[in-house]
Symmetry: C2
Subunit: 149 residues, 2 copies
DNA sequence: TTGTTATAGTTGACGGGTCAATAAATTGGG
DNA sequence: CCCAATTTATTGACCCGTCAACTATAACAA
């Protein structure tokens, strides 16, 4: 019989808890955000990056947002159908596609961003500013660790 | 095409960063965990809960792990095909299905749990025990906040 | 009893992510 | 110059989660 160890909560030890919390958090966060903001967090990030960077290739966009190239292709397809972005060929590189934010996309982005602000305020309610900073630093450390696994 | 170098510094402010980091973390965590442990984190959780609780209905299992009933059904289908769990009818309730861990499932669970330990060790490397506790507390607070949105 | 309501589980459609294979264009070494 | 290797984007297959519709059973009230 494998070691009993059955704690009162589901997790076997505190390390487990971290993993479970991260998973639970994200699974609840994404749908709620989308319902609030009317757009998925990833798509909003794409629009924001596009706004920050101006017209760029899908490739650089992909690296900025940190998702798979295939996912980027499909998101952009959807965003293009909604008229929020435009895609054109890159005169300097026949392989690349230059993606740019349309005016409509810019408007959508701004209004969603306000929603996002309210959402994040609620998410972080009760956190002092320095706690937020501390949390961010810890999450960054985790990100750093994961990259080396 | 594995992702490369997604900095989370596209964020407009620190609150954004938190959200981006959480998302990035989970998106990287799950695939890496699965490759390491040979089983998805959710499925391992199912096996562990089954071990802790003994034979239970899918419903209680679902509430424990915190995912959709449909997802549970499909996970259990897969686990059953692999011989890790067994499903039988509940004599006390004709609607319910009693799920139990097979011997093979128990063995799989124990060995995966060791892998998980190593994985978490790497993930949390550089964290002092009290930092882990602090992190867990903060994530719990976030979880609490999200439930009220 | 019977009919209504609630609960357990399944299934299908969908969104979001991964990886692998592929086409087209660029790059670079012989 | 040319051929091989690399890079960009796309597509298909798959996993994992959601929600909504459905079936079967249970619980309960009239």
């Amino acid at each position: 019989m494998p070691i009993s160890e059955g704690q009162a909560d589901g997790a076997v030890n505190r390390d487990d808890t971290i993993f479970e919390l991260l998973q639970e958090l994200n699974q609840r966060l994404s749908p709620k955000f989308e319902r609030h903001a009317g757009i998925s967090f990833t798509r909003l990030r794409l629009l924001q990056e596009l706004y920050r960077l101006g017209p760029v290739s899908q490739n650089t966009l992909q690296r900025k947002v940190g998702i798979d190239a295939a996912a980027v292709t499909r998101h952009l397809k959807g965003l293009e159908e909604n008229g929020l972005i435009a895609r054109g060929s890159d005169p300097a590189d026949g392989r690349a596609i230059l993606v740019s934010l349309t005016e409509r996309g810019q408007n959508a982005m701004s209004s969603c961003r306000e929603e996002k602000g309210r959402f994040l305020e609620q998410l972080l309610s009760g956190f002092k500013e320095e706690e937020v900073a501390l949390l961010a630093r810890m999450l960054e450390r985790l990100c750093g660790n994961i990259k080396q696994i």
